[in-house]
Symmetry: C2
Subunit: 92 residues, 2 copies
Amino acid sequence: MDSSTNRALPDSEVGIYECEVRLKFRIIEDQLTMTNKEELVGTLVDAFAYGSDEYLEALDSDVAIQQLHDVDEASPQMRRQLIRLRNSNRLA
Amino acid sequence: MDSSTNRALPDSEVGIYECEVRLKFRIIEDQLTMTNKEELVGTLVDAFAYGSDEYLEALDSDVAIQQLHDVDEASPQMRRQLIRLRNSNRLA
């Protein structure tokens, strides 16, 4: 392979990151039931994103991030978007 | 203690819940660095709350919830708010 086409990606190049976020908090609610997990996660994430107040107290949070090197693992939508962004960065 | 003042709390009574939410997802970013954990958690939670699109792909999420029985563990602000809500429920 020609070394000119095998250039290292610059640090600032846009990429796909795999993230794991863990949130611990207390919340005042009338009733919190586990009937629909997806809906419950959505409700709780929205509440946490709104911030701490007299209804919510953030306790602890943690985050782990790593860049996804095998881009083929990502969804087709994200792969296309990544290619679009990298191309527009190169043209800029 | 008089049994009339020692009544069981109804199921629908407002309470404080301790929540742990774990989110796994992929995100397209220019650079994600760990310089400030709190800020990074905020950014990622906002992005996740916005929903999946060509920039973000939700992978897996989990939630664990339990009611806090010892309300004294909560912040003074939340305790006051809880008392206020319970009183207004009783008057309603």
